[in-house]
Symmetry: C2
Subunit: 415 residues, 2 copies
């Protein structure tokens, strides 16, 4: 038997990927309603997810489609003063399904250069209006009230950037293969492969939660940053649990363990190690200095205006809502590819997020906003991850009694 | 100069078509918000409409996409008892834009064989639940509260049926050309061509409204049907007017003039002259007998179950809500093509509709439901047009004082 006998076809891998999103990603419970969010250009994957959902027992699956070009036309052509209008029905779709005990899968893919020429202020106005209207749904996500999952699909725009040396059809194919590999959809029994992987993440989050470090100290490649951790913080990683007991994996792939920083105890300077692809604008060479948990200086080599508008959104967008550890040896990092897609790139490197913390990362935070805030949890309209890890990064854990322990060395876990 | 020098490119014709939908179809007023409804497979047209809307002054344009395959998967795979669940957000999108003084363009296209294998009862359950939730929006449409427009785009499934003898890519191209021709998008100045056409329809609807016939009598090719007309009925045709004075053309193309039958005064037998493509099922060879305005016998050579479920929807779906006159010499009829798409096929032949009448077809009907009903207007969750005209059809107008006047002979207007 030659190796090609055992290789899966594209259709088989697509099917695996859709099944993973539904079964591992959502942990779909029979009878649940499903909302798929998908770019029009990802129609074949969206349709496969819908069919896979029905096969896993969904009562009803519908797709809320979106389209880059329609978005682009708006920021090119719409009149001044119109950017705070949003399609409320798009958000209502999420709320309707969440309130109906349903599940939401998003195929997240945007052309990284989509809004390169757009006015950063218009983008920020729109983003703020959208996030404000979306707050009740975001809160459900932040408190694990529903099972949800993010996957991706290649768009020609990103494929061209990731694989610049081949024709675009070939680039899309290679992007698909990278996705299948990172998602373990290329394996004969992907669900078993995921079980093994999730077990490792679960062990790691338990160790870190038990440690209850007072802070983490990141040092390397221009970064010297101390991130205080919230009181009674809980590390997330692998699967999460809804109130009704559904175990789901919010991101496919996922390589991170993460928790909630203390919003008032972040000090020092941090530099990004990979660009951030944010809503169709590429922000690279980010350098931010924190004092008392708050951004006091922020610059970027490109996309600086967009970065500053982002930070200016509200008080919470001046502070951190997530700190995440990812080994440099993670498969996505080892692929050597930059995906221009946070879902992938945040799983290639340790990262932090500006904006809201997940409520479930603090004990009692889901039950009470007051407890969440009192223990140092941050609240904002935004949650934007960006990458700070590299092969040069050392991370120390500072214990409650002032000791210093090695957590990562040269980008790898040592605990 | 050869003829090919003056022929428009595909992109130019697509642009004309999009502009027609926005400027003639919606009569878009600057500052209006626009909702486009489009199948994923019609993305190039939907994007052109969005850009055209901004160029005509839209404040914001978004697309509510849908997809045949997602619909098909549901009726193949979803469990029993789940078909009354609808995506309320899809209807809310229409209401949101209508309530915001916006305009709605729908690209109507469904594979005619989509639900050929589906259970008619499940389809009917779903249709009823959807129409019930959609009633407040339908009422806005039926009373001209907003400017709206229907256009179409080829889907491979329909193209294959219309042009069975050529490869599907070629069939899609030929379908596009037929659309451009019927919509006058192939003309150098399509808006001027529309103005001329609309003037003719306006003259015709005025003549018929002034006549105030008590009834129309259709005879020919198996049909012998008397359709009483509502008291103080108004003939529609060409453009309509919203309360804020926007003049719009609800269908592109449009060749009909139509009015409201009296729901209790329809007598005799009518047979369809073309199949009806209804929600992905083809119903052909329809034969219906009316007594006192109500269906008393209904059969079809194919799709009979779906027809009967449709008629059983409510009391109003046993009665007529529209009678429309279209000359057999209409361009769509002369193309010799059957489009499997009511928007086109109803403009190739005189037709009637089962279900609701348009409120504006009866004087006082927009202002008062009571007046509308008292004058003979019909109300239902549905409004389904089907074709009864042909080159053999004679139509007489029966005057209030019992005279008989020739309105059409052998399918052509004689008044
Ligand atoms: Zn993260
Ligand atoms: Zn994050
Ligand atoms: Zn009609
Ligand atoms: Zn009609």
């Amino acid at each position: 038997m030659t190796s090609s006998d055992t290789e899966l076809t594209f259709e088989q891998k697509l099917q695996h990927y859709a099944d993973l999103a539904v079964r591992v990603g959502l942990g779909l419970r029979a009878g649940q309603r499903v909302l798929v969010q998908a770019p029009v250009e990802a129609a074949p994957l969206a349709r496969a997810v819908v069919r896979s959902a029905y096969e896993a027992g969904a009562s009803f699956a519908d797709v809320r489609w979106d389209d880059d070009d329609v978005q682009k036309a708006r920021f090119e052509l719409a009149p001044e003063g119109s950017f705070e209008t949003i399609s409320r029905w798009r958000v209502d779709a999420e709320l309707e399904v969440a309130n109906d005990a349903g599940a939401v899968i998003a195929i997240r893919a945007t052309d990284p250069g989509l809004h390169a020429a757009a006015d950063p202020q218009k983008l920020a106005q729109h983003q703020r209006a959208l996030a404000t209207y979306r707050k009740p749904y975001s809160l459900q996500v932040m408190t694990n009230q529903l099972n949800w999952n993010l996957i991706t699909a290649p768009l020609p725009g990103s494929a061209r950037l990731i694989f610049p040396d081949v024709p675009v059809e070939q680039a899309v194919k290679q992007y698909w293969e990278a996705i299948f590999k990172a998602a373990r959809a290329d394996q004969p029994d992907p669900i078993a492969a995921w079980q093994e992987h999730l077990d490792k993440l679960h062990a790691r989050k338990k160790i870190l939660t038990d440690k209850q470090y007072h802070a983490l100290h990141f040092k390397g490649g221009g970064t010297d940053l101390t991130v205080g951790l919230a009181e009674d913080h809980i590390w997330g990683g692998g699967t999460s649990l809804t109130p009704s007991g559904i175990e789901f994996t919010a991101n496919i792939p996922t390589e991170e363990v993460w928790t909630a920083p203390h919003r008032e105890r972040v000090e020092g300077t941090v530099v990004s190690t990979k660009p951030l692809s944010y809503n169709g604008v590429l922000i690279s060479g980010i350098r931010i200095r924190f004092e008392g948990g708050r951004v006091v200086e922020a610059s970027a080599e490109s996309g600086q205006d967009v970065l500053r508008e982002l930070i200016a959104t509200d008080e919470g967008s001046h502070r951190l809502g997530e700190v995440a550890l990812v080994p440099h040896s993670s498969p996505i990092s080892q692929s050597g590819l930059f995906f221009y897609n946070t879902l992938y790139d945040e799983n290639a490197a340790s990262h932090i997020a500006i904006g809201s913390a997940y409520r479930f990362n603090i004990e009692g935070g889901v039950e009470s906003s007051e407890t969440f805030a009192a223990k140092g949890g941050n609240d904002s309209l935004l949650h934007v991850d960006w990458m700070i890890g590299s092969a040069e990064m050392d991370v120390d854990g500072l214990t409650q009694d002032g000791q210093r322990e090695a957590v990562m060395r040269a980008g790898e876990f040592v605990i």
